[in-house]
């Protein structure tokens, strides 16, 4: 059974044909949003995280039809005027991108945190990334990147992360 829903993806409202049982993850990938990764399908890895009305969620855990009428942000929607989001910049500069498969999901969770807490502690960051598994980095440089991005977004100097 298929139906047509309306999704606002990265600011563009669009009709999308979906199957009733399809997850939002499947639909986003089929529509070409390949930043949304498929790592487990059970809500355990966070590689599929997107912002749904501003909150980070695992897109494999929600049916596409449940997102009808709602706004989704993926990593593809973060660049403004040719500039990356400060967290993307910080991830690159901190050396936090190894294989990069977890990076988009981690960036989404980080942005969700920074939208709620402009001045997070290291423990705040770790808690925010708890649902984004990374097998490459040991999280050290990812946490540094989120903290560095917070400094940049507050307008302070990016004092770097070592």
């Amino acid at each position: 059974m298929s139906t047509t829903i309306t999704l606002t993806i990265n600011g563009i409202e669009q009709p999308v044909a979906v199957e009733l049982g399809e997850s939002l993850l499947e639909v986003l990938r089929r529509e070409g949003f390949t930043s949304v990764k498929h790592g487990c399908d059970t809500g355990d890895c966070g590689a599929c995280a997107v912002l749904l009305d501003g909150d980070a969620i695992d897109s494999c855990m929600i049916l596409a039809v449940a997102a009808d009428g709602r706004a989704i942000t993926t990593v593809e929607g973060l660049e403004t005027d040719g500039r990356l989001h400060p967290l993307q910049e910080a991830m690159i500069d901190a050396g936090a991108v190894q294989c990069g498969f977890c990076t988009p999901g981690t960036v989404m969770s980080g942005i969700d945190l920074l939208s709620r807490n402009a001045d997070p502690t290291e423990d705040d960051v770790k808690a925010a990334l708890a649902g984004n598994l990374c097998r490459c980095t040991g999280y050290v440089k990812q946490v540094d990147a989120v903290l560095a991005a917070a400094r940049v977004m507050k307008g302070g100097p990016d004092v770097g992360s070592g």
Partner: protein, 774 residues
């Protein structure tokens, strides 16, 4: 011109250049094998065995084939019977040829019975349920002890298998090395310890599971776009199994979402390729997370016994290691992982005149072992470094001091280097760089060793302790691994660097680019790095055995030096100066007079002007040794004496990897390896039902560390210079994973006085050990 690049004052090497692929990855570009979307692709699903050991009496695929949307069903009845190994190793592979694409006998729960290719993944999965299989159950072997029992069922009785040491007794491989007389050495020792440690089944858990796309190009050649660590081995092995000439196959490795050894294996390429050859259509196969756990590859569980004999002053007199490795149902990497449990550990303590290494690998009806970061050294170090800690306790000495007395040093060797290789004898070598003493100094200082050891600080039920261990690994397989690189110059003075070396997320494209940039006097941005594509890049064995920085890096350095010589020759004509006085810097050739000509001018002249030629070169490198990196590892843990829970409070890993070409990347390798090792030490374990079924094949039930589970891992790189390395570099990617199990075990002992000898150290195991001690 033998050493044209000074070890001091690098312009690009030693700097934290952002990874060359970081922008594409951070912006989510479609760079992974599963990202390319094609509506017309066939999707492949697998039917897995529910039996640990059974003969397929009959298999009927007619109901599956009749399902609307099914294009093809593959079983052992309609696929090649060629025997091969899935291990992606050099030719001839040192693993037995003990499998077919589909075997008529299934040997573990999860073994491949059939594959369906269909228009959608859903149809393919539905069709697997319509395949009617009649099994004739066979007795199963579910442990090392059962495999070695006198009347054990034979797992590989098929006559077509080759390369098995003793199939009738389930023994895949044996390595026996005796140096001196270890029994006499033990008898002659003032202090002896005898310890046996056992490691568990664990999985790599790359966040990107295995994924392959296959299609035919316009000339009808088979193209495999695959998440692999070994593109050239994939091409060779697929060609043999599918009976195609090598030149009819092209293997492209895009970005890889982590491998850790799991992707040093030919698992999906044969099947996906065959679907495309039979149907003419694009096909995609992607393992689900449970399939990744059960049906891909695992770390070989091992039982390792170590006996150490020492003189009264603490110097080792005799070292004896006995290993039994469980390779599961197939012998992938069975010999070499077991060999490395000794070859990568025993040379570390080269003081003992009497050394023995006896190892065996056995088959069981359990999931299949494979390459996994650390590659046997991880398992060997658990027992060796536990035994060293016990020895220190028996001698009443500081564990750090016992290591200092006994570890190998610059200018020294060990007979083990030559005695144990990978499928053949190893290679003699003398250690050219070793900063282990400074690693120990720094690590002890950072963790607060002197203040904390033996103090048993108590905070409610939590008791604190500190532990340590030391390690070495290698840098490639000496005399076996070959890497090659091609560099060509473009109009604007930029260069293409084409490498078979296989970046699987480690950053090797970046550090190899940095090496080329350093030699050629250009910024990294002027090096366009491309890896790996069997049509486009020169050969490289691939990313394993900690080979890339050293082996491929030396190939890149050589190629860059040849290109540099060509550039200098052109510059010499242009500047009318002696080539010996010309150097490359800041994108210019600079003569002794100070006159300069830009690389762009040199390129334009070469391509369009006088003495026209493509400036470029291909160079190869094979290591005639494998310089070990070293690591000193320290941890502070807290043990809850009421629940048995263990928390890692602080972790310091101090590494000597030679010159770190890119410190961020090198630190990242250590941090990631330690994190993986902490998971392996505390929580990660594949659990089995009494019938050999994996009970926890999900990321919910198989717990890998998340950010809040870990302390801030402190990776420290010491200054070091490896004379044979490219720009002084050695490997760094694997060594860290060996450290957490013994380090944490020794810290638990320091805290609560019990020795944990079975990993992982779950609360239940720790509590049981505490109960047994009281």
């Amino acid at each position: 011109m033998s050493d044209p690049v000074d070890s001091q004052g690098f312009a690009v090497v030693g700097h934290n250049e952002p990874k060359v692929d970081a922008y594409a990855l951070a912006t989510g570009k479609p760079v992974f094998a599963g990202d390319v979307n094609h509506d017309d692709a066939l999707h492949i699903a697998f039917l897995a065995s529910k039996h640990a050991h059974a003969r397929i009496a009959s298999i009927d695929t007619s109901r599956a084939e009749a399902l609307d949307g099914v294009a093809l069903v593959l079983t052992h009845e309609n696929t090649p019977a060629t025997m091969y190994t899935t291990a992606g190793q050099g030719y001839p592979e040192p693993s037995p040829y003990d499998t077919r694409m589909f075997n008529p006998t299934v040997r573990f729960v999860g073994d491949r019975v059939a594959a369906v290719a269909a228009e959608t993944p859903e149809i393919a999965h539905a069709a697997t349920k319509l395949i009617d299989v009649t099994y004739e159950a066979l007795p199963a072997v579910l442990s090392i002890d059962e495999a070695l029992a006198p009347d054990a069922p034979i797992i590989h009785g098929e006559e077509t298998a080759t390369g098995i040491h003793d199939a009738a007794h389930n023994i895949v491989s044996v390595v026996n090395v005796d140096i001196g007389d270890v029994e006499a050495g033990i008898a002659d020792s003032a202090v002896v310890v005898d310890t046996t440690c056992e490691t568990q089944y664990a999985q790599h858990v790359p966040i990107e599971p295995h994924v392959v796309q296959a299609y035919l190009d316009n000339d009808g050649r088979l193209v495999l776009l695959t998440s692999t660590q070994v593109p050239f081995h994939v091409r060779r092995i697929v060609a043999r199994v599918l009976d195609l000439p090598v030149h009819r196959i092209r293997v492209i490795k895009p970005r890889v979402g982590g491998g850790f050894g799991a992707k040093q294996e030919i698992l999906l390429e044969n099947v996906t390729g065959l679907v495309t050859l039979r149907t003419g259509r694009r096909a995609i196969a992607e393992l689900s997370r449970p399939e990744e756990f059960v049906s891909s590859r695992t770390r070989h569980p091992m039982r390792v016994r170590v006996r150490l004999g020492a003189r009264e002053d603490g110097t080792l007199r005799a070292v004896d290691m006995e290993v039994i490795s469980n390779t599961g149902a197939y012998g992938s990497h069975g010999l070499t992982v077991m060999s490395n449990a000794g070859s990568k550990t025993l040379p570390l303590y080269n003081r003992a005149p009497d050394v023995r290494y006896h190892g065996r690998t056995v088959y069981t009806n359990l999931p299949v072992g494979g390459a996994y970061r650390g590659y046997g050294a991880t398992q060997g170090y658990f027992a060796l470094e536990t035994a060293m800690d016990e020895l220190a306790a028996k001698l009443g000495m500081d564990p750090v001091e016992v290591r200092r007395l006994n570890h190998i040093r610059v200018g020294e060797t060990s007979p083990i280097f030559a005695a144990i290789g990978e499928g053949k004898p190893g290679v003699e070598q003398t250690v050219g760089s070793c900063e282990l003493e400074r690693c120990l100094d720094i690590g002890a200082e950072e963790i607060g060793w002197a203040d904390k050891r033996g103090m048993r600080y108590r905070d409610g039920p939590w008791v604190h302790g500190v532990g340590m261990s030391i390690h070495m690994q290698g840098s490639g397989i000496a005399d076996v691994d070959m890497g090659a690189a091609t560099i060509k110059m473009n109009d604007d003075g930029s260069f293409n660097l084409l490498i078979g070396a296989t970046d699987l997320g480690t950053g090797s494209d970046t550090i190899l680019g940095q090496i080329a940039a350093e030699v050629l006097g250009v910024p990294l941005a002027k090096i366009v790095v491309y890896s790996s594509d069997t049509d486009m890049t020169p050969f490289d064995v691939g990313a394993y055995a900690s080979s890339t920085t050293y082996v491929s890096g030396n190939a890149v350095r050589r190629a860059a030096e040849e290109v540099r010589a060509q550039i200098v020759a052109v510059a010499s004509a242009m500047l009318e100066e002696d080539p010996d006085g010309i150097s490359l810097d800041d994108q210019h050739a600079i003569g002794a007079s100070g006159e300069r000509v830009s690389l762009e001018e040199i390129a334009l002249r070469s391509l369009y002007g006088t003495d026209q030629q493509q400036i470029g070169a291909t160079a190869s490198f094979v290591g005639d040794e494998s310089p070990p990196p070293f690591l000193a590892s320290f941890a502070e843990v807290a043990v809850d004496v009421e629940t048995g829970q263990v928390r890692v409070l602080d972790y310091v890993a101090v590494a000597d990897c030679g010159v770190a070409i890119n410190p961020h990347a090198a630190e990242g390798q250590v941090e990631g390896a330690i994190a993986n090792g902490i998971g392996y030490a505390l929580t990660e374990e594949m659990l089995f039902s009494s019938h050999g079924r994996v009970r926890n094949p999900t990321l919910f039930d198989y717990k890998i560390p998340a950010a809040p589970d870990l302390p801030r891992i402190r990776a420290i790189l010491v200054d070091s210079y490896e004379p044979t390395g490219p720009m002084g570099a050695k490997s760094v990617a694997e060594i860290g994973i060996n450290a957490p199990i013994p380090t944490i075990a020794n810290a638990i002992y320091d805290a609560v006085g019990v020795r944990l000898k079975n990993s992982p150290f779950t609360a239940e195991r720790v509590l049981a050990a505490l109960d047994a001690a009281t």
